[in-house]
Structure formats: C-alpha cells, structure tokens
C-alpha cells in the first residue's frame, strides 16, 4: 500500500488502525468539532485529538429527530453517527460555538448521553468570541484556561506548561510540513489533487500527531516529482466550510481543473499560522487560534480573508474560484456573496455552488462546473 492508498484508507473510515492501536495501548481519544479547538491542549492532556467526521454516515434519519431539516447537513450527519454509537470509542467531545448549528450539538449530545448512558461522558462547550480584538483575545485565553482546568479535574491529570510546549512544537511541525506540501502546488507541477488534499487533512486529524508527522514526511517524498495536472487544466481556488466529500471535489476537478489552493475547513485553515513557541503556552495558543486564517464566523476579519484570497490567487496562479457551501450555512452564504464581489474586483471568474453533505445531484454539479469552465475558455478566447 503506497502513501496515497494509505491516506485514502484512513480518510474513508471513522476509525483507523492507528487509533485502535493507541486505544488498545490505553491512550484516550478526545473528539472535537472545529478548527478553532486547540489540538495542542488535548494532546498535552494525553489525548489523541480526533476531529469528528461524517464519513461512513448511514444518513441523517436519527440525527433529524434532534435537528430540523433546515439545519446544516454536516452536523445532522455527524450527530446521526453519534446517535448510532459510531463515536462511542471517544472519551470526550469538545464542542464549539462555530455556528449555531454546531453549537447546538452540545445540547443534543447531552440529552443523548442522558438517554443512552453510553458514549463519551465528558462533553465540554468551548466558547470563542466572534471578533478579533484584545478583549476577545483575553476572553478566549480565559476560555482555554477553563478547558485546561476541566480536563484536569475530570480526568485527574496535570497539564503543565512543559507538556503544552512539547505539544505546541509537535503540532507546529505538523503544520509546517502540511504548509510545505500545500506550497508545492504553487508551481506548474501540481503534486496532489484537491480530492487528495481533503483526504489527507481528514486522515491527519484522526491519527496520533506523531503518526501524522511521519505520514506527511512520506507524502512530501512521494510528491517530489508528481504532477496530477493535465494539460489545459484550470488552476482552481476552492472556498467553503466543511468539505469531507473527496468524491465531490474529484467530480469538480474531473471537469477540467486541479485545485491548487483553498480556504476550506479541511484545508489551508489547518496550516495557517504557527504558534509562537517562546510565549507562555495558553496565551500563545489562544493568539494563534483566534488570529489564524479565519472562518466566516469571525465577523470583523473579512479584510484578512480577502487579503489571503488576493495573495493566494496571485501566488498560486489561480485561474478560477469556486465557493461551495452547505445548504443553510448562513456564514458561508454571506462569505460567498462577499467573495463574489472580491473576485469581480480582481477580475477572476467565480462560481457559487451549494450542496447537501453526501447529497446527490452529481449531474447538476457536473453541468454547472463544466459550463463554468467552458465559459472561462470562451472569455479567454480572442474574437478571431
């Protein structure tokens, strides 16, 4: 099994052999829900941080009993898996107020735990401000200290500054390797497809960090002379919230493009901004997580995202942009609108897609995307 097969194998499973092995060796696993939850704190507490996922979902019927049909399909699939017991191997879950759909999962999961008396008993709600400011940073630092205390008290452990420092160094290494790999897409040779990069980030967030580092090293080696870009492929920037469906990304790329850059939850957001290693750990973690490439939940940070958008389009020679949001996601609905005007300002073609997670409609997506790429070809042809 080469590294790509291994990543594919890990990414399409809820659990993987590395996780099972660690668990049988007595290691605890802590689930979390959002790119704003600091894995470093969970790791310093001795847990393997595990990002909740919807892969292998059987549907949303059970999740829908708690949610409404007008809620985000990511949380409905995710919670459906929780109801079915798919996440019973976790020792706890850290929830986050990323948006109201995911924030409500905390309430539903508490009810579920009371009903079932099964699954992870430690459920913690982490709150982050929706703005970036000194006050917000202080507030978030307090919130992270509260998380540290909650973990210490609930599991009878001590999270020292030294442990936090070690975790910060490890995760910085993981981030820098991933950044190095993603930066390789700047050139004419594109070493991995957008679908492969989704699988990779999905896999890395479900294995111990030490394993993630070694997988990344192997991946970087395998990508040295690799080129997945076909002649005539457009270089694409993908923006959107949570996209786990590598097949959906593959479908988009199959119409004549290769994703070279993104602002996705399972993408660039995982590599942006290292944590300063010479500062006191908790404030340093808070600073990084509050000020990294932000999600549209941060209401006063569009300027930074727009700057990243412009810079990336230039540095990665992007030909076109696709925003792909989940239905009922107001955060990305607003962001897609703003990005549209940014794209117009920069003179770059943009297409807005909307989908249900693991939904159908491949024919519609195919037609839209193919027509979008044909339109770009038409616009770049001269009138000879």
């Amino acid at each position: 099994m080469d590294i790509f097969d291994e990543i594919r194998f890990i990414a399409r499973k809820t659990q993987n052999p590395y996780l099972k092995e660690a668990r049988s060796a007595g290691q605890k696993i802590m689930g979390y829900l959002c790119s704003y939850v600091p894995e470093e704190i969970l790791h310093a507490a001795g847990f393997i941080p595990y990002r909740l996922r919807t892969v292998e979902s059987l549907g949303t019927e059970k999740g829908d009993l708690y949610y409404s049909a007008l809620n985000c399909s990511f949380v409905r699939h995710c919670f459906d898996k929780a109801v079915r017991g798919d996440f019973d191997f976790l020792d706890g879950v850290i929830f986050f107020n990323g948006c109201d759909h995911s924030r409500r999962m905390y309430d539903n999961w508490r009810d579920l735990y009371r009903e079932r008396q099964a699954g992870p008993g430690f459920l913690h709600m982490l709150i982050a401000p929706h703005k970036i400011s000194q006050t917000a940073l202080n507030r978030y630092t307090d919130e992270l200290s509260k998380l540290v205390r909650a973990l210490e008290e609930s599991f009878g452990l001590k999270i020292t500054d030294q442990k936090l420092h070690n975790s910060i160094c490890l995760y910085n290494e993981k981030r820098s390797l991933l950044a190095q790999l993603f930066a390789m897409r700047k050139g004419e040779k594109v070493p991995l497809t957008g679908a492969e990069s989704i699988r990779l980030v999905l896999a890395l967030s479900a294995v111990p960090v030490e394993k993630a580092v070694s997988l990344l090293e192997k991946m970087i080696d395998a990508c040295q002379d690799r080129n997945v870009a076909k002649p005539g492929d457009l270089r694409l920037f993908m923006a959107g919230g949570c996209m786990e469906e590598a097949d959906h990304m593959q479908l988009i790329e199959d119409q004549g493009a290769v994703v070279v850059a993104d602002n996705l939850c399972l993408g660039a957001r995982s590599v942006h901004t290292p944590i300063e290693e010479d500062l006191p750990p908790v404030p340093a973690i808070a600073r990084r997580y509050l000020t990294h490439l932000s999600c549209p939940r941060m209401v006063n940070d569009f300027y930074s995202r727009s700057h990243y958008f412009e810079e990336t389009i230039r540095d990665f020679s992007v030909d076109a942009v696709i925003t792909d949001k989940l239905m009922f996601c107001d955060l990305w609905g607003g962001e897609a609108f703003l990005l549209k005007s940014e794209a117009r300002r920069l003179g770059i073609p943009i297409l807005t897609l909307e989908r249900e997670m693991h939904g159908g409609g491949a024919g519609q997506v195919q037609t839209r995307v193919q027509a979008f790429f044909e339109k770009i070809a038409n616009l770049t042809q001269d009138d000879a």
């Binding site: 909307e354 195919q366 037609t367 839209r368 193919q370 027509a371 044909e374 339109k375 042809q381």
Partner: protein, 262 residues
C-alpha cells in the same frame, strides 16, 4: 463533411446531423431507461433520415445530462454551451437564451460568436420546468401539449401563489374543484411556471436579442407570460427550439472538425 450533435436530456433525446454548415436531418425521441440506448436510437433515426451510417460522420459532440455516457461521441460539452450555440446558429443577433427543459431551466448570455459568457441554472427548485408543467396539466386532465393552446383562450386567469410544484398542484386542484374554467387554470399554471423561470433569468444581466429554447418553448402560454414578465419579445427560431442543444452540439462538432461556417 457530415458531423452531428446528440443531446440526451431527462425526458427526450435529440440528434442533429449537419453537412458543411447546413442542417441535414434530425430526430427527437422520448428517453428510455438507459442513456446509451436512447442516444443510439435517436442517432440511428437521424442517420437513417440522412441516408448515412455512423462511419459517415466526421465528428460527434454529445450534450445533455447523459453526455458522459454516449460512447459514439468523440467529445462532450455542457447543455449551456450547446443551447447558446444552437440559438446563435439560427439567428446570430441572439444574445440571451432562456432554456426550459424537462427538469431544469437555464438563462445564458452569449457573445457575438454565440459562445456562452455567463449563465444561471436552477438548483434549489424545479417548479419552472417541463416536469412541473406535466404534473400540473395532469391535475386538470390536460395533455402537456394542450396546456398552451387552451390557456390562450383564458380571460380570467387564476392566481397560483405557491412556489413549490407539489403545493402548486394542490392549489390547482382547489381551483379545479371550485369550478374554475380549465382554460383559466391552464393560464394560471403557465404564468406561475413562467414566473419561476423569469425569477431565475432576472438574476443575469442580459443584452437584448432573446430566444426561448427547450421543450417548454413549444408552450405558447408560458412563452407569452415570460415575454410579459421580462418585457421582451422572443425571436422566432428557424429550427424546432427543442433541437437547440443537439444543433449547438453539432455546430461545435463542425467547428472542431474545421468546417468553415459550421
């Protein structure tokens, strides 16, 4: 040189054969369960009409929902590019195409060469499509082909306010049981569906020179309502508007094969 376009949609399949820029033959068939078979049948019918065999075609372009599954086509293009090019072939002054098909509708902006430079397509709702009309016509015991002519006789159209085809059907039944005239309900149906299409089309900045294509363009009631809502007049097309996708695909095949004035 002979070349062809084959359009396999959700309800019908069309094939067009051209020879050096002239329309040679065409065929329309209902789609069966298998794309491949539908494409083959409709192509065979058009070939028979032209007195040709598949080997006689220099190039074939596929389009429509089934475009990826047509084995005898050398390449495929989206319906958006093909409908635009088909309308442009009929009338080079056309700059905007509204295509209302079986299960989707699209608005397309064209440049002077007939190339699609902008488009919108329904994605959340299929109330402005042929299938929706079919359901609503059936609710008042009318055939799809009768909906247009019958509606044109109406003087007091009913108002259908719902946006969902299923709720529209309930509303239609309510009018039906309430004793409203069939022609008035038919006009209400056409207007309601036209409103859904217009809502989509208005999101594009379309230049003058409008054409209506796709199966629903044959419904004069919908066409008239659309013209009224959008404040435009649709240009008459010299070829059956339902053939626009296949025709555009054939024109693209001609361009690719190097035919001048294809």
């Amino acid at each position: 040189m002979f070349y062809a376009g084959c359009d396999v949609g959700s309800l019908t399949a069309e094939a067009v054969i051209m020879e050096d820029g002239r329309l040679r033959s065409w065929a329309i068939l209902p789609v069966g369960a298998r794309t491949e078979e539908s494409a083959y049948s409709v192509m065979q019918q058009a070939l028979k009409e032209a007195g040709l065999t598949m080997d006689g075609l220099a190039l074939i372009c596929a389009t429509g929902y089934g475009r990826k599954n047509i084995p005898f086509a050398q390449f495929n293009l989206s319906e958006i590019s093909c409908h635009g090019m088909g309308a442009h072939w009929c009338d080079p002054s056309i700059r905007a195409v509204i295509d209302v098909g079986g299960q989707d509708c699209k608005a397309i902006c064209l440049d002077r060469q007939g190339r699609a430079v902008d488009f919108v397509m329904n994605d959340k709702c299929a109330a402005g499509t042929g299938r929706s009309l079919e359901i609503l016509a059936r609710a008042i015991n009318l055939g799809l082909e009768d909906l247009g002519p019958v509606s044109l006789k109406s003087r007091h159209p009913v108002r259908i306010t719902n946006r969902c085809s299923i709720f529209m059907e309930l509303e239609v039944l309510q009018h039906y049981y309430g004793g409203r005239k069939i022609r008035d309900i038919a006009r209400g149906i056409n207007h309601a569906v036209a409103k859904r299409v217009a809502f989509l089309a208005q999101s594009l900045d379309m230049a003058p020179g409008f054409a209506l294509t796709g199966g629903v363009s044959k419904n004069a009631g919908v066409a008239k309502s659309l013209e009224k809502i959008l404040g435009v007049r649709f240009r008459p097309l010299k070829v059956d508007p339902q053939l626009m996708g296949a025709l555009g695909a054939a024109v693209h095949a001609g361009v690719k094969a190097g035919v001048k004035d294809s």
